[in-house]
């Protein structure tokens, strides 16, 4: 039978705020976002939250649920003890706009800075050929739904004010995806070192742990990038790697 759900939701803005408790009717299979919607419909029409797809595909409804960064749409209420009071707070790292909505514009600024794909010439028939095993490495990073939970937990962003010289895990895998792109020819060495600030990451893997897409951000993205940074101090190694990479991509 339907039980009630009790939830403490942060209400407030940049000027401050507090948790407010709401109790709504429960139902089978409900997720945290359903409860928030029910609160809006029955108690607080002005409760601010972002959401779109409600299926874990758009990455809009990021929040801190019982202190853990998660997507509200993919967090089922039945993972909590019956009667447990669940708290929902906005992502702490980003400036709050209102209630559960934060200002994530930092991420959009960093996105613009990443040097884009520079395409190699096409095959003689005008087409591009890539092998499945070569695209798969990049495809892992393309799964990113830009929920920014990794950015939210990264202590370089969360606890230090190093935003200016640090792109964060989301953009490390964006860069990694470009670097592993079989058709890319651009050298991002200087950007990665000087502007993206990959050196500031000390591999605590917090980003990987919260990724709802289970992308191996640290192991497959950041660590190889750090290794390349070391290699790329030597231009001969860099050139060899690029050439080898190309040969593999176009048999």
């Amino acid at each position: 039978m339907a039980t009630n759900f009790t939830m403490q939701v942060f209400r407030g803005d940049a000027g401050g705020g507090d948790f407010k408790e709401y109790t709504v009717e429960g139902g089978e299979g409900m997720v945290v976002l359903d409860v928030v919607h029910r609160i809006q419909a029955t108690h607080a029409p002005d409760l601010a939250c972002r959401w779109n797809c409600k299926a874990g595909k758009c990455g809009s409804c990021s929040a801190e649920i019982n202190g853990k960064p998660r997507l509200m749409c993919m967090t089922r209420m039945d993972i909590f003890e019956p009667g447990e009071v669940v708290t929902v707070a906005p992502m702490r790292t980003f400036p709050i706009i209102r209630d559960l909505v934060t200002d994530v514009s930092y991420n959009y600024e960093k996105a613009k800075q990443v040097p884009p794909l520079r395409l190699k010439p096409a095959d003689p028939d005008g087409r591009y050929r890539m092998m499945q095993e070569d695209v798969e490495r990049g495809q892992e990073f393309h799964k990113c739904i830009e929920c920014f939970l990794c950015q939210n937990v990264c202590h370089v962003i969360r606890d230090h004010d190093w935003k200016k010289r640090f792109s964060g895990p989301r953009f490390f895998i964006k860069i990694a995806g470009l670097e592993m792109h079989p058709l890319d020819t651009r050298d991002r060495t200087e950007f990665v070192r000087e502007h993206a600030g990959v050196g500031l990451c000390n591999i605590t893997k917090c980003c990987t742990e919260v990724c709802p897409e289970h992308i191996h951000i640290t192991d497959n993205g950041i660590i190889p990038m750090k290794e390349r940074m070391a290699d790329n101090l030597d231009p001969v190694v860099w050139l060899l790697r690029k050439l080898r990479g190309r040969k593999k991509a176009a048999p």
Binding site: D13, G27, E28, G29, M30, V31, D34, Q40, A41, P45, D46, L47, A48, C49, R50, W51, N52, C53, K54, A55, G56, K57, C58, G59, S60, M74, R76, I97, R98, D99, V101, D103, V104, Y108, A111, K112, P116, L117, L119, R127, Y128, R129, M130, M131, Q132, V135, G138, Q139, H142, K143, C144, I145, E146, K174, L178, H181, L183, D184, P251
Partner: protein, 600 residues
């Protein structure tokens, strides 16, 4: 009264909506060297395109060299039961391969064939495996690729901004007015041309695969500005939405499940689709389970499984099975892929379906069947446009993607939406830019008009005693679900129209508490106007069309009627009413007509 505060931005082309069509339009307009603004209701990259799963239909011939644009064109027209705008269907079939390759040049990583070309998968209604795809998250790849391409072009992006009205100078479009979701403050965009790329209307129904954004904004903006809509009776119920648990009901289950080997079964374990093969598709559909099973291995010598009939056919079949008592206790049927495919294959081809069922329903699709049923997915109807230029019937207004009508006729084939976004998004951006370049004289925005719109938008705050917007929205969704659903009948459609009138009156008294800063109650209250408008257009057209065809099934007129096959229904606002007109279908040239005479 004090004058209303608002900020002003000015562009040559303003694109409203930043899904696939809007992004592609903005990229093209920017490439023409005009000033471009791109407005989106959500954050950039969150638009509905992100949820598209199966793929982009494009006759590239990578898997089947026999495929070409003529075959794709024929499939599209037949899928739409010949009510499509033939020229749009032709342009779409001809241009989508190049648009896919262009996406690859922008950086998209599609799944590959053994030869390293873009792989293509089977989908309902397509004669050959034709959908370029990335697992079952093609839409994500598409929007992310376009997004990251667009941010390096000369495009000004305005996020979390909702346009409420278009502005006109005489007959011409001259701007748009709306508010910032973040602050609740008003914003005016002056523009010579406007591209609508706002998607669909799904949020008027209770069970839908669509997100909150699909509130019929563009359809209504166009109608209110004097433009015409076409084919509004045709609504696609995707046959396979999740049905259990209740909180996820309606979430999409990609057609790729069936394309990759999944079959539909009732609770008796029967593959019921064999009982629902319509005459129109008999010659190309397997009539025995044995032939259908052989088709997965040998497509040359066998006809395709009826599980992959066009969506309207499959949705109606599921609906009938459930009504006949052969559905699951939750009101769905079974979709089974685990008996044909092994776990590795399923996880590789359908990773997000695996994830979605595991997390939200506690079902392991590599071991158990899924429970599925129809969910409102897409509106074929939309802004009436010129096929080549995407120009609406109001000068300066263009429309592309789901908000535009015509391409899909009475029923859209899966995979034809993503191609639509790219092909007509590009055309909209191009022609909007050309329109600006050729436009002489100055456009003036009427400040009085702006002020009066602003006052209307603030009314929900100042009323007292009015209703909660969420209650009205929920009642609207119930009304459309119960009375303008998958199967329609005259009495219910009339009842729906009466109820919509009452809902309109209730919406006029809606009240919201709180302030203007990020207030979802206010946003929902404002969206009611467009939701009610598109609902009314749909119900009116559905009442008028006394036949069954594609995404419009009348219990009281169950057959397809050839005389109705020669006309589209056009909706237009006259004073405060919506008027319907029958418009003869554009005539297909003989060389295209000939494609339908060949027996294949």
């Amino acid at each position: 009264m004090a004058t209303v505060d608002y900020e002003t931005h000015e562009h040559d082309v303003l694109v409203i909506g930043a899904g696939g069509a809007g992004l592609r339009a903005a990229i093209e307009a920017a490439a023409q060297g005009v000033s471009v603004g791109l407005v989106c209701k959500s954050l950039l990259g969150k638009a509905h395109t992100v949820m598209a799963e199966g793929g982009i239909a494009a006759a590239m011939g990578n898997v089947w060299p026999e495929d070409n644009w003529q075959v794709h064109f024929r499939d599209t027209m037949r899928g739409g039961k010949m009510l499509n705008n033939w020229r749009m269907a032709q342009l779409h079939a001809q241009e989508s391969p190049e648009r896919v390759l262009e996406l690859e040049r922008y950086g998209a990583l599609f799944d590959r064939t053994k030869d390293g070309l873009i792989s293509q998968r089977d989908f309902g209604g397509h004669r050959y495996a034709r959908l370029a795809h990335v697992g079952d998250r093609t839409g994500l790849e598409m929007i992310r690729t376009l997004q990251y391409h667009a941010i390096h072009q000369a495009i000004e992006v305005y996020m979390e901004c909702k346009i409420e009205r278009l502005l006109k100078d005489g007959d011409r479009v001259c701007g748009a007015f709306g508010y910032w979701r973040n602050t609740g403050k008003f914003v005016l965009f002056k523009a010579k041309a406007i591209v609508l790329a706002t998607g669909g209307i799904g949020k008027a129904w209770k069970y839908t695969s669509n997100s909150w954004e699909y509130s019929g904004d563009g359809h209504s903006l166009a109608l209110w500005a004097g433009a015409e809509l076409i084919d509004m009776e045709f609504v696609q119920f995707h046959p396979t939405g999740m049905v259990w648990p209740p909180s996820v009901r309606g979430i999409l289950v990609t057609e790729g499940v069936r394309g990759d080997g999944g079959t539909l079964k009732n609770t008796a374990g029967e593959r019921f689709m064999f009982n629902y093969i319509p005459e129109f598709f008999k010659s190309e559909t397997a009539d025995s389970q044995e032939e259908a099973d052989r088709w997965y291995q040998d497509k040359k010598n066998n006809r395709r499984t009826p599980d992959l009939l066009p969506r309207d056919e499959v949705a109606r079949a599921i609906n009938s099975e459930v009504k006949a008592g052969r559905g699951t206790v939750h009101g769905g049927v079974f979709l089974d892929i685990c008996t044909r495919r092994d776990a590795d294959y399923i996880r590789k081809r359908l990773p997000s379906m695996y994830h979605q069922f595991k997390e939200l329903a506690g079902v392991d699709i590599t071991k158990e069947p899924m429970e599925v049923g129809p969910t409102m997915h897409y509106v074929m109807g939309g802004v009436r446009v010129d096929a080549d230029s995407t120009a609406a019937t109001v000068p300066g207004l263009f429309a592309a993607g789901e908000v535009a009508g015509g391409l899909h006729g009475s029923n859209r084939l899966g995979g034809n939406s993503l191609g639509d976004l790219l092909v007509f998004g590009r055309r909209a951006g191009l022609h909007a830019a050309l329109y600006c370049k050729n436009l002489g004289g100055r456009l003036t925005v009427d400040a009085g008009q702006v002020e009066s719109i602003a006052k209307t938008l603030l009314e929900p705050f100042t009323r007292s005693g009015g209703e909660n917007p969420y209650t009205i929205q929920a009642d609207l969704q119930d009304t459309m679900h119960n009375l303008v659903g998958i199967i329609r009948v005259e009495a219910e459609l009339k009842e729906a129209l009466q109820k919509l009138e009452v809902l309109k009156q209730r919406a006029a008294r809606v009240h919201v508490p709180g302030g203007r800063v990020y207030n979802p109650g206010w946003h929902v209250a404002l969206d009611l106007a467009s939701l009610l408008t598109v609902s009314q257009c749909c119900a009116l057209a559905a009442l008028e069309r006394k036949e069954s065809r594609g995404g419009h099934t009348r219990e009281d007129h169950p057959y397809t009627d050839d005389t109705w096959g020669t006309v589209n229904l056009v909706s237009r606002r006259h004073e405060d009413r919506i008027e319907l007109r029958r418009e003869p279908l554009p005539q297909m040239p003989p060389e295209l007509k000939a494609l339908f005479q060949e027996r294949k």
